[in-house]
Amino acid sequence: MSAPILWILVPFATGVLILLFLREERAPVTGGVVAAILSLTALIIPIDIAQLLGPVSFKISSTIQFFGRSFALHTADGPLLAIIYGLAALWFFGTQASGTKNRFVSIGLMIVALLTASIAVEPFLFAALLLEMAAMLVIPLLVLPYQKPGRGVVRFLIYQTLAMPFILFSGWMLAGVEASPGDLGTTTQAGTMLGLGFAFLLGVFPLYNWIPMLMEEASPYVTGFLLWALPTFTVIFALGFLDRYTWLRTSPQLSNAIIFAGVFMVASGGIFASLQRHLGRIMGYAAIAETGLLILAMSLKSTEVVNVTFLLLVPRGLELAVWALALSIIKRKAYSLRFSEVQGLARSYPIAVAALIFAHLSVAGFPLLAGFPARIALWQELAGQSLTISFWAFAGLFGLLIAAIRTLAVFVMAEENKPWELNESWVQGVMLGLGVIGLFILGTFPQILQLFIANLPTLFDHLGQ
C-alpha cells in the first residue's frame, strides 16, 4: 500500500462508488466515516516507516508513478492529511443536518482527493491542473440539474480557469529565472504571472466578487465547503512556491504585493461585511477576510510563517462548517436570508442562531473562541513589522465584529411575548452543539492543535526553519 493510493485513490474511488451505488440518505455517514478513518490513519500510522503489528510488518510507501508523474506523500504530510480528512469528515457528517443533497458527499470526497493530489504531485506545477479539476467538480454541486447557472457560478469558473494558465506560464518562466537569477526583467514577469495566478485562485481584491454572489444564489453549505477547501489547498500550494524559490521570499516587490493583497482583503472584507443586510453575503465577506489573514500570515518576515498559517487554517475549517450548517438550517425557514426575513428568529431557532453568532464572532477574533489564538499569534508577528498594516487588518476584524453584532440584533428582535421554542432536529442540535463546543475548546486550549501542527514546518525546507 502506498500513501497516494490510500489518501488520493481510495477517497476518489469511494466518492465514485457512493455516487453510483449508494442512496443519498446513507452517503453522509459513509463519506464521513471514510474521511474520519483516513484522518485517524494519517495521525496514527507514519508514512514510509515500517510498522510492526504483532508478527506482521508493514509499511505505507510514500510514492507512486502515474502517467510519468509522481505523487508523493511523506512522513511530514501525515498531520496535514489528518487535519484535511478530519475537517472533511466534519463537513460530510453535517450534510444530513444541513439538508444538502445533490451528491454533496460523493463529489466532495472526489474534490478532497483531487486537492490532496495537488499537494502530492511532482512536478508541483501540475497542482494548478488538479486545482482546476477540483473547481470544475464543484460546479455540479453549485448548480442543480436543469437549472441555469447564476452569475456567481459563471464568474467563479472564469476566475479559477484564468488562474491555471497564469500559474503554468509562470512555471515555464521560473525555469528561466533559476537559470539566470540576475535577469530582473524575467524575474518581474515571472513574479507578476505567478501573483496574478494566485490572485485569481485565492480571490484577491477585487477578484473575490464571485464569493458573495455565490453565497446569495447557491446552497450555503456547499459554498461554505468550497470556501474552506479551495483556499486551504491553494495556501499550501503557495507556501510550496515560497519555500522553493528563494527570490520569491526575498523580492521586496512581491513581498509588498502579498502584504497589500492580504490587508486589502481583510479590511475590505470586514468593512463590506459590516454594511451587508444578507446573512449569506456576510459569511462570504467573512471568508474573504479570513483568506486575507492567511495571505498576511504568508507575508510575515519571520520563521513563524508556517506555524501562524496553520494556526489560522485549522480553526477556519471548523468556523466555516458551523457557520454554513447554521445558515443552511436558517435558510430552510427564511429562504432569502435577508435581515427583514430573519428578524426575531433567535426564539424559534436558538441553537442555529447561537452557533451562527459564535462562528461569526470566532472569525472576528472574539476571545475564548477558536479564531482568537491564531489572531493573537498573527498580531505578535505582524505588529513588529508594521503598525499601519496591523491597523487596517484590525479594522477589518472590527468590521466583522460589527457585522456579528448587527446580525445578533436582528435575530433577537422578536415581537412582544414570543415564546422560546426549539425547532432544530436532534441531529442538527447535536452537530451544532459539538461545533460550538469545539470553537470554545480551540479558543481556550489552542495547544491541543500542536498534536497536528507541531511538525508541519518540516514540510517546508526553507520556510519556518
Partner: protein, 516 residues
Amino acid sequence: MLIIVSCLLFFVTALALMVLLITQPNARYAWLVAVGGGTLALVSVFIWLAQMPFDLALPAWKPLTLFLNPISFRADGLSWPFAVSISALTLTILLTVVSQPAFTNSYTWAGTLALGGLGILAVTANNPLTLLLIWSALDITELITQLRSVNGAANNEKVVTSFSTRAFGSFLLLWANIVSIAAGSTFNFQSIASGSGLYLVIAAGLRLGVLPLHLPYSSESTVRRGFGTALRLISAASSLVLLSHVPAGSLSSALTPFLTSLGIIAAIYGGWMWLRAPDELTGRPYWIISLAALSIISALSGNPLGVVAWGCALVLVGGALFLSSVQNIWLNRALLVGVWSLSSLPFSLTASAWLGNLGFFIPFVIVAQALLIAGFVRHALRPGGRDSLDTQESWTRSVYPAGIILLVALQLVLGWIGWDGALQVGAWLQAIIASLLTFGLVWATPRFRILNPIRAHWVSSTISRMDNAYQGLWAIYRLLARISTAIITTLEGESGIMWTLLFIILFVSLITQGVR
C-alpha cells in the same frame, strides 16, 4: 494555588446546585450548600493574606514563540480587595434570598456563584490576555442571561447594544496589545508601552459606559435585585481592575486632560441622575457610571489605589444598598456606614481615592462625589412601605441582616487592613469639603424642587435625548453603506469583470513601478 481554591469553591458549589436542581429539585438543604460554598470561598480569600503576593500560571499556549504570555493570575495588594468584595457580595446575595416569599434552588443561585468565581478570576488576571478571556466569558454570560430575561424587540436590542459596547472595549484592549508589541514591549501589566496606557483607560471606560457616556445596561431585566446586582457589580469590577494596572507614566499625553474632562462630565451626570432617581434599582446604572467615572479620573491622575478604592466602594456600598429589599430601620441606619466609606476621609475605604494629581479638576470632582453621597443617603433612608421581616421565621430575621451587615462591616475593615490603600490619611481637606457639600445637598434635597426625585418616565426620556446624540454615527454608517453598495453593484454587475481586470492592472502597475 489559593486563587484556584477560591474559584473552585464557587464553581464546584455552582455545579453541585445544578446537580441538585436536576436530581432533587425540592431539596431544602440546597440553600445551605450554596451558603456553605460561598462562606468557604470568602474565608479562603481571607487566607490569601497569609501568602500574598503569589501567582498562578496555567499551562502555556503553544508554540511558546508565538504566545509569550501564559494565562496567569496574581493575588496582591490591588487584586485582593476586589476579590474579597466580590466574594462577600456573592455570599450576601445568597444570604438575602431568604427574604423572598418562596426561595428554592434555581439556576440564578448557581449563576451567582459562577459569576463570583469568574469575577475573582477577572480581578486577579495578571496580563491582558487573561483579562480578555475572562471579560469575554462574563460578557457572553451576561448576554445569554439578559436575552433570556427580557421581552420585546426594543429591550432585546438594548441588550445587544450593551454587549456591543463591552465587546468594543475588549477589542480596544486588543488594539492596545498591538500598539505595545509594535513599540517593542511584551504586553503584560508590568511592561506596558507608554503609547498603550490611554487605550487601556478608554477600553475600561467604554465597557463601563463612561467614555463616551452611555448606559451600557438595560434596566428592564426581570433579574433585577439578586442575580442582576451580581451581574452589574461584578462586571463593573472586572472592568475597573484594568485601570488599577495602568502605570502613571503611560498616561502623559495631550489627550489626558480631555479624557479627564469627559470623566468629570460622566461623574457629575451620573451623580445628578443618581440623586434624582426614583429608587435605587432604577438609579443603579447611574451609580455604576458615576463611580466608574471617579475611578477613571483616579487612574488618569496617576493613582491606581484610587481605582481600587472606588471599585470596592462600588461593590460593597452599592451591593449593601441594592440587596436591601426589606424595611428595617436599624439596617437602614447601618447602611449609612456607606457614607463614611464614600467620603474619602482618613482611614475610610476611599481614603486613598485622591492621592493623584487632579490639579484644575478638583472642584468638579468634589461636586461629583457630593452628589453621589447625597444620592446614597437619600436612597438608604428611603421611606417605608416595603415588606418587613416581622412575619418571617426567626432564623430568617437573623440571616438576612447578617448578609447586609457583612458588606457594611467589610467596608470598615478594608479601611484598615489587607491592601496597599488601607490606613491612609489621603486628601483630607478635599474630603472635608466634599462632606460639607454633601450635608448641604442632603439638607436641600427635600426643600428644593430641582433636587427632588424625577418620575420614572423622565429617566427614559433623558436617555432618549442622549441616544439622539449618537444618531450622527448612524448617519455616517448609512453613508458608508451607500458607498459600499455602489462599489459592490459596479463590481458584481455586467461590466464587473472588466472593472476587476482594470483594478488588477492598476495594482500590478503600482507594485512593479519601482522595477526598471
